[in-house]
Symmetry: D3
Subunit: 137 residues, 6 copies
């Protein structure tokens, strides 16, 4: 068992605002992240896949294919978008980094399994000081 990783990047806007709460409570909990007119980030998405090495290629999985899956199914949908408004799989969900990472998992896990490998880990880096990691459970 060996682990291979691909990084892809996207730039998006979002805000953290619970509609069931008052503006005061939102400001208290989310601080500047509740700004009504949005703010944004450069996100780094790190995807780790595990599996056995194929003796013909020396690969667990072709990183070109992994990169293409991540770009087609995730990056294309979130890059230069508003995570609260523009992303079909996030509608009605709270666009925290945690929830994003878990939704990315749901999309990527079956597609990677279809390639004969297994999604092991997702890391979503929001700033150089903050990131989230998810192992699927």
């Amino acid at each position: 068992m060996i682990y291979i990783t691909r990084r892809e990047r996207f730039n998006a806007a979002h805000k953290l605002y619970n509609e069931n709460w008052s503006k005061e409570k939102n400001d208290e909990v989310f601080g500047k992240c509740a700004n009504a007119n949005w703010h944004g980030h450069n996100f780094d998405l790190i995807v780790t896949v595990k599996g056995e090495v194929d003796p013909d290629t020396g690969f667990v999985m072709n990183l070109k294919d992994l990169s293409q899956i991540i770009k087609d199914e995730v990056i294309e949908k979130v890059d230069h978008k508003n995570l609260n408004l523009d992303v079909d799989f996030m509608l009605g969900k709270f666009p925290s980094t945690e929830v994003l990472a878990m939704e990315f998992w749901k999309i990527l896990a079956p597609l990677i399994e279809a390639e004969g490998a297994q999604l092991h880990y997702i890391k979503l880096i929001e700033t150089e000081n903050n990131y989230v990691e998810y192992y699927g459970e």
Copy 2:
């Protein structure tokens, strides 16, 4: 003459959209950056000041003071904001990285001069692949 530099960071939303143009022309020129519902970035702001070294402190200028000026006069106004809508000194201006850097210069140059040093250079990093530099003219 020696040069000292301070980095500060902010996260903001913006879009690049010329209201005098059709949506088609905006999409053609600005591509994904014209997305109606905004996108965003982690910006790194690099500010370089030049001057002579003060023999009492070994400093051109106290970096604590430089940091405070940048935070109070720039970061506070753009961090977790929408650069098209929320920032007084950007209203009616086009929120490209180039224009932002030039507006930051106008704010910071006189404040740094008041401290006995001279603003030399501003660098505004939008992504790990794109940045703008300005020397004030």
Copy 3:
């Protein structure tokens, strides 16, 4: 279960010198790190917390709170300090990166538990080539 991480930074002096050994033995084992008049580092402290996502906030734990705890209880005590002389919880202990990481764990684990989350991992980066990781046992 999801993992969130906060990075904080501090700059400190230390030396590695076992008082029970001769100067020769210290020089042999610790090399330049035994320099009598100290040396120092920019340390990066990485703290990972795990828990369930709160449906009201989308958060495992508010990163503002995590950052504040790390700053108040660790950074404040070690930043711009001498790790051999100035830090109450290090007195009588050997200021290697390993021991520091384990002491930081003792301080942070109960405070994070009091916030309803669980300390998962501490990484202490001493140089771009050397770091230590600790999972609490």
Copy 4:
């Protein structure tokens, strides 16, 4: 149990080309990596060792010794080399990052064990977007 890590670096040429396949099949699977006249990378090799902390040194293992072992037994053999042609332990093996990481493990694990610690993890970074991790099984 605590984990310490050392990073070392090397620059090498390689190509990915399966001699049992046609040129067309190689181009299809390996793309630009199959270029007949080689290409190359700056590789970062990350080696993590685990063990108990020695009370006399505060160390799991002396990082000077770990660094020396990695340099003598791995870096010396692959730095500024052709991974397909010049490296004794890679002859007849496929020089993918996955296979390299596993071969490095075979070399390093017994040498680290002889120092009283245990090899835990190898990470081999090929580009800023691609890396491989191995835990020895």
Copy 5:
């Protein structure tokens, strides 16, 4: 006058070997870089363009266009190539980082001028410790 910069990356093999010299002299001058079977690097290419800001776009030059020019005219020709053997504009030239940077300048300067801007600066990063800069004269 403002400066905008685009980073692109490529991975290539090369060797430093003066055919007019003995193997001994080559080894003495170029050390490991003279390895007969090549070695390689991840190169970062930084291209800075200067000009006035266009009031319609807020841009000196569209970074999408700058990126495309760099990719089409430079990256495409050197990425996953052997800089001694595979690159038309390097044939008969010495593939040091210095010479590469100067050749990239010759290619890019007229193409950027045709876009109404001016090439200001090229930086070619060979390793995290070594780079070359060129201003065209």
Copy 6:
């Protein structure tokens, strides 16, 4: 004319304390940097040399030689040292980053000139947010 750069690193302790001032004044001006028992940093030293390219080597100056000069004449004297107490060329001088950069210039400029090249620029990075640059005048 082309510019080549070498990065070297060192770890050192220092404090900023003007002996002609009261403790209160030192604390006010230098803040945490005045800590009596020192603090420290990982410093990055960036040295840029300019000259013409030698047609036999493709080099302005052999980076192996540049690296060796920097290591022998600067790094050896400051690495794992106390910049206030241990460094001959800093005795009686104020160990700010500015003064260090200027002293490094005095040492390196004639040695690089003796190699047929010219020292162009020194950058001394103290933290990821703070650095100093010097061009020799």
